[in-house]
């Protein structure tokens, strides 16, 4: 069950030329289908118009022929026959109308569905290209709503909104035309009430727009309040503020009731009013038409048909309000959709990317300054370049704390294994975010094999850089799918080999369905240690030259699994350039060198023993993080 209550609905105009033009662009590929559907709609409307006309023919020719032709002998039998034929024609017209309407609605649905699928694919494709900073500031739930519910609101516009209005208008014009053609004087008698209808409808439309807006915003307010109150219920209870919260809720509730009653009153007035005016039209017809017949200018059949047309004439008007609401919701949704599509791609591939050939796996950070905030300017903490380059001691401004990395430089040889350790907030994860180009640094450069990563194609770079994250993300699908991640270049044998290297094979093969075991709900049922092993296997299966590991001391892992993970790590690091963000001393054993990050700077580096001997930051970290785990 999906509930949308988190944001006040954008309630703008029901028609926005800019948005509509953009939306039409998505319908264009289906022009032929849309044209066919419209043609069918016109035919169906015509079929609807046939009923009263056939009644007229029936009455005037067979049932109650005008006075001059009465008195014919033996007319009755011919009349019966004629009537039966007429009924058969009527039946055929009805059947045709039924088919046309059905086909039309199906075709429009098909167009709507395909447009939605196109739009959704485009949104997903665009989202995939956005940088991680976008995902850091945008809740996943909101993106899901954009791609699912908002696109759905557009479908209603395409299938039941726009086309139906077209059909309604055509029906009204058709009725007017037929009536004028049958008897223009009678038609004008009916049309006499039209100005009143338009005034009433217009007033209703305006009121209903305001009422709809009021109901929607007030309901959104109630729901937002309710949602927040449920989340913070304990606070309200602890502060014994239930009565006050209830009073506030009553206020919102009453405001919504008032708006709902306003809308109801409006509707309650509109329908009977339109009905009354319809009756007024019929009365006019009767009075004026009766006179016309008496004068021999019109026939009874024409009068009856005109009465039937007049009754139908007012039906489309009633739908207008509903259509209006659909339009309004669709405009709001498309505005939100386009906002996603217009989100700029900030981490871009270069126009002429350098090719990576004979990849060795060297890594270098060259004076890298980095902040997550987009608006953090390098000037905040760094003096200008001509001032002799950034100095560590340069006067920190108030924005200084926002820097995750402040002038980090280091080089890692191909095949070298390095651990990065540091206290909370030292900038360890940022190092990984920059190597994989999840983000770009504000200043300085990250180089692989001597090439700035910004000069490479992202996909090319990431093919060579493997990543093992601390919170393992498993996709729905089988274990093999999760190791392969949909890469067709990775064979079943590769999957197994990777699993064996990391030691994951043991538990996977113990499962009844082995590699074909389907994982549900992000791998529920697997222990966190097993998930870690899958993550290692996933990274190894892609044969990366550079491996980045975020290694977390998971307290919930038993000693046996812990040993397994350690072995997997050892296997993973072998023979490639590797950076391990280490939280465990045991991890540090596998590396050639340790870099100690502190407050965004490389503070110390060396081997475990050398660093311990320094009795600096590393020694403190060792006491804090590793002491009781080892």
């Amino acid at each position: 069950m999906s509930v949308v209550f988190d944001e006040d609905p954008i309630l703008g105009r029901a028609y926005d030329a800019r948005l509509v033009r953009r939306l039409l662009g998505y319908v264009r590929p289906y022009t032929v289908t849309v044209s066919l559907a419209i043609a069918l709609l016109l035919l169906a409307s015509l079929a609807d118009l046939a009923g009263p006309a056939l009644y007229r023919i029936g009455i005037d020719r067979y049932i109650a022929p005008p006075a001059q032709s009465t008195g014919r002998a033996g007319a009755a039998a011919a009349d019966f026959h004629g009537l039966a034929v007429l009924a058969a024609v009527y039946l055929a017209v009805l059947a045709f109308g039924f088919g046309a309407r059905w086909a039309q609605s199906y075709l429009m649905q098909a167009v709507g569905q395909h447009v939605m699928a196109d739009l959704r694919a485009q949104m997903i494709g665009h989202l995939q290209r956005l940088s991680m900073s976008f995902f850091a500031r945008t809740p996943v739930g909101r993106l899901v709503t954009r791609v699912t519910n908002d696109v759905d609101a557009l479908n209603e516009l395409i299938t039941s909104g726009a086309v139906a209005i077209f059909g309604d208008i055509f029906t009204m014009i058709g009725i007017m035309a037929v009536m004028l053609w049958m008897d223009w004087r009678l038609a004008l008698a009916v049309f006499a009430v039209l100005p009143v209808v338009f005034v009433i409808t217009e007033r209703f439309r305006q009121r209903s727009r305001d009422a709809y807006r009021a109901v929607r915003t007030r309901l959104a307010r109630i729901n937002a309040y309710l949602n927040e109150q449920i989340t913070g219920m304990t606070v309200t209870q602890l502060f014994t503020q239930e009565p006050r919260a209830l009073r506030a809720f009553d206020g919102l509730n009453a405001a919504h009731l008032e708006a709902s009653l306003g809308a109801t009153r409006n509707f309650s007035q509109f329908y009977p009013a339109i009905q009354f005016i319809g009756a007024l039209g019929v009365a006019l017809l009767l009075w004026y038409g009766g006179g016309q017949i008496a004068r021999g200018v019109a026939t009874l059949g024409v009068l009856v048909a005109a009465i039937q047309y007049a009754e139908r004439f007012f039906d489309p008007l009633r739908d207008l309000a509903d259509k209006f609401n659909i339009f309004q919701a669709a405009m709001a949704s498309s505005e939100r959709i386009f906002r996603v599509l217009d989100e700029p791609v900030t981490v871009l591939d270069p126009p002429e990317p350098s090719a990576l050939q004979g990849f060795r796996g060297e890594l270098e950070f060259r004076d890298v300054w980095f902040a997550y905030r987009d608006d953090a300017s390098p000037r905040a903490g760094i003096p200008s370049a001509d001032g002799g380059g950034p100095r560590a001691e340069s006067g920190p401004s108030s924005g200084d704390g926002e820097w995750a990395l402040r002038g980090v430089s280091f080089a890692i040889r191909a095949g070298e294994r390095v651990a990065i350790v540091g206290h909370t907030g030292a900038g360890k994860t940022s190092i990984i975010n920059l190597i994989t180009r999840f983000y770009d640094p504000q200043r300085g450069a990250v180089l692989v094999d001597g090439t700035d990563v910004r000069r490479l194609e992202q996909r090319d770079l990431r093919r060579h850089v493997g990543l093992v994250l601390q919170d393992v993300f498993l996709f729905s699908g089988t274990i093999a799918d999760n190791i392969r991640l949909g890469n067709p270049e990775i064979s079943d044998a590769d999957v197994q080999r990777a699993a064996e290297q990391t030691g994951a094979a043991r538990f996977i093969e113990a499962l009844p369905r082995g590699y074909a075991t389907v994982l549900h709900e992000r791998g529920a049922g697997l222990s966190s240690g097993q998930k870690q092993l899958i993550a290692f296997a996933r990274a190894l299966a892609a044969h990366p030259e550079i491996l980045l590991v975020l290694d977390e001391a998971t307290s919930s892992v038993d000693a046996e699994t812990e040993a397994l993970i350690q072995r997997a790590l050892g296997a993973a690091l072998r023979g490639r350039t590797a950076i391990v963000i280490a939280h465990r001393l045991s991890t540090v054993r596998y590396v050639d060198r340790i870099l100690v990050l502190h407050k965004g700077r490389v503070a110390e580096e060396g081997t475990h023993n050398a660093l311990l001997a320094q009795d600096g930051i590393y020694a403190k970290l060792y006491k804090l993080q590793f002491a009781d785990l080892d």
Partner: protein
């Protein structure tokens, strides 16, 4: 609809329903009379009546239509209006009921589920109470009356109609059921699509890292194609519904022309009667559709009311005692007597006994998962112990009036929660009897908690809206705002549950300085890591794995060299690491990283 609650609400508005139904009956009577006038008019025309009678008939038609419109307005307005009042009452009761639910209820019931009931189910009940109840009566009477009038004109034609029109209801129900089934399939596919988007967006880091975008896009397209397929299946059924009903009514109309016309030729029926009959056909068609529609509304309304009644059936977890003790002035002595707490089969606290004397400051320390928060949550009865007793001034907390107990206790929780309201309202949130908090008191509380400095920088000062739909505060700012809220309450017992963890060291010192005056006069319980905070306490309680492992003064505990000494040692190292340079955690506001003990600020994008 068997819900007693539902009918009780309807009974509250029985006058409105009565008036509405009366209006409905009048409107039906008028609606049934106008075809009769029309018939007289048509026959009059055929027999060349003069202009006089015609004008009279026309006037009669207008009069009838006016009366019908007025009565129909009365019906809609009173019944639909009453339904909105029922909705409002129901929503109020729902909220009031939630307010009585305990923490355990909210932990086992997802907010999304509670919201779905509040949004979708209440609306479904409203629709049944309004359109459903209105149409059910209106439709039935209309049906009976139309058939009766038809019979009075021609039994033969009526039988024809009765042979054809029930197909409308039948199609509506049968096709409706099929549509419903296919709609469910659409919903299932749609949920699968949502789940896929959710997964793709949550796992975007992995997707990007392994350059798997094309594969993910392909999987998405598959899910999207399934949605299209399910929708088109639905469209085939749904697209047929109204045309099919139109077709059936049309067939009835054809039969009328054919059989009725024949009867006019034979002279057994007048043309006026035929015209009159066509009107009853129209007046019979809509009720036939409405029958199916009302059935749907009834089914949905009933299912929704059942879901709402499920919530109403939940008893309040923490209830006032049947015979509460008179709550005199609470002094604030707290005693835990052999207290154990079990959550989901796990012991959160085991057999804890201890006394916190009135007016003292007690620090509670221990590693993560030691049961510190559980211990303090028992005092204001956020939940009750599984075994043992918690006493305040010698009275079991379960014997005290809940409101009196909670008024005496103020908690600053670990995860600060602010409402989407002004900073001023948030601080004054707990002020007694809901009158606007005295400005000086709010300002004083803000000064003590050091949020006053930040408030000066907010765009609208204290009138700045904070919380989910307002300005985003940093963790430290939120903690200080919630602290101000607690101080403002002037409690006898003040509980700080790791409440200054996101506040930088200097600010913490300033806060503790300010709090000293406040805490002097009352019992304070402080869960903390920072040495400065812990050392300022009169008494220290050490928990580990749900057990009370030690208690005493700082010097006692250090002297004994147990868990406390270890924790102390590690904290010293941590503070040394952090003190290496000035922390900007709290001062920079908004997005500044916070030193709250884990790796969060290392990468917001993880």
């Amino acid at each position: 609809m068997r819900s007693r609650r539902f009918w009780a609400y309807i009974r509250c508005y029985r006058r409105a329903y009565f008036i509405g139904y009366a209006g409905g009956l009048v409107s039906i009577a008028m609606a049934q009379s106008s075809p009769w006038v029309l018939r007289l008019a048509v026959d009059a025309i055929r027999h060349h009546a003069g202009a006089g009678p015609l004008a009279a008939y026309a006037a009669a038609l207008v009069a009838l239509a006016a009366a019908e419109a007025a009565a129909s307005y009365v019906m809609r307005w009173s019944i639909l209006g009453a339904a909105y009042r029922v909705e409002t009452d129901l929503r109020r009761e729902y909220f009031a009921h939630l307010q009585r639910m305990g923490l355990a209820f909210f932990e086992r019931t997802p907010t999304g589920d509670l919201m779905a009931r509040a949004v979708n189910d209440i609306r479904a009940v409203q629709r049944f109470a309004g359109v459903g109840l209105m149409r059910s009566v209106h439709t039935t009477v209309m049906l009976v009356a139309s058939v009766a009038f038809m019979l009075s004109i021609s039994v033969r034609l009526t039988l024809w109609m009765l042979a054809i029109l029930p197909f409308v209801t039948l199609v509506f129900l049968l096709l409706g059921r099929e549509i419903h089934r296919r709609f469910d399939a659409v919903q299932t596919q749609f949920s699968a699509l949502s789940a896929r988007v959710q997964e793709m967006m949550s796992g975007i880091r992995v997707v990007k890292a392994f350059a798997r975008e094309p594969d993910q896009l392909a999987r998405f397209r598959d899910a999207s194609a399934e949605v299209v397929h399910a929708n088109l299946r639905l469209a085939r059924a749904q697209g047929a519904l109204w045309p099919a009903i139109g077709l059936i009514v049309g067939v009835a109309s054809v039969v009328l022309l054919w059989q009725g016309g024949g009867a006019v030729i034979r002279g057994t029926l007048t043309l006026g009667e035929l015209v009159q009959f066509t009107y009853y056909l129209a007046r019979l068609s809509f009720p036939m559709i409405a029958l199916g529609w009302v059935t749907n509304l009834w089914q949905q309304g009933r299912a929704s009311m059942i879901r709402l009644d499920e919530i109403f059936a939940q008893p309040p977890a923490v209830a006032d005692p049947a015979a509460p003790l008179a709550a005199g002035g609470i002094r604030g002595e707290i005693t835990f007597r052999r207290v154990s707490v079990v959550f989901d089969g796990k012991m959160a606290l085991r057999d804890v006994s201890l006394v916190m004397p009135a007016g003292r400051t007690v620090a509670v320390v221990g590693p993560t998962g030691a049961g510190k928060t559980t211990l303090v949550s028992l005092i204001p009865r956020i939940f009750d112990p599984t075994e043992g007793q918690v006493l305040v001034d010698g009275h079991d907390v379960r014997q005290l009036p809940l409101a009196a107990l909670r008024s005496a206790v103020a908690v600053v929780p670990q995860e600060p929660f602010l409402f989407s309201d002004t900073l001023y309202e948030n601080i004054g949130f707990g002020s007694p009897d809901a009158r606007p908090a005295a400005r000086e008191m709010v300002l004083a509380a803000a000064a003590i908690s050091q949020i006053a400095v930040d408030a000066a920088d907010f765009p609208l000062g204290y009138d700045t809206v904070v919380g989910e739909r307002g300005v985003t505060l940093s963790g430290g700012q939120r903690q200080r705002a919630t602290l101000a809220r607690a101080v403002m309450r002037d409690p006898r017992i003040l509980i700080l549950d790791d409440a200054l963890s996101s506040v930088d060291t200097q600010t913490e010192q300033a806060i503790l300085e300010g709090l000293r005056g406040v805490m002097a006069a009352r019992t304070s319980i402080v869960i903390a890591h920072r040495i400065s905070t812990i050392r300022a306490a009169d008494w220290i309680v050490v928990l580990d794995g749900g057990r009370l492992v030690d208690q005493g003064t700082h010097d006692d505990l250090i002297g004994r060299g147990g868990l406390y000494a270890d924790l102390y040692e590690r904290e010293l190292v941590r503070e040394a690491l952090e003190a290496d340079e000035t922390t900007f955690a709290d001062a920079a506001g908004g997005a500044a990283p916070q030193t709250d003990g884990d790796d969060k600020q290392d990468g917001p994008g993880r």
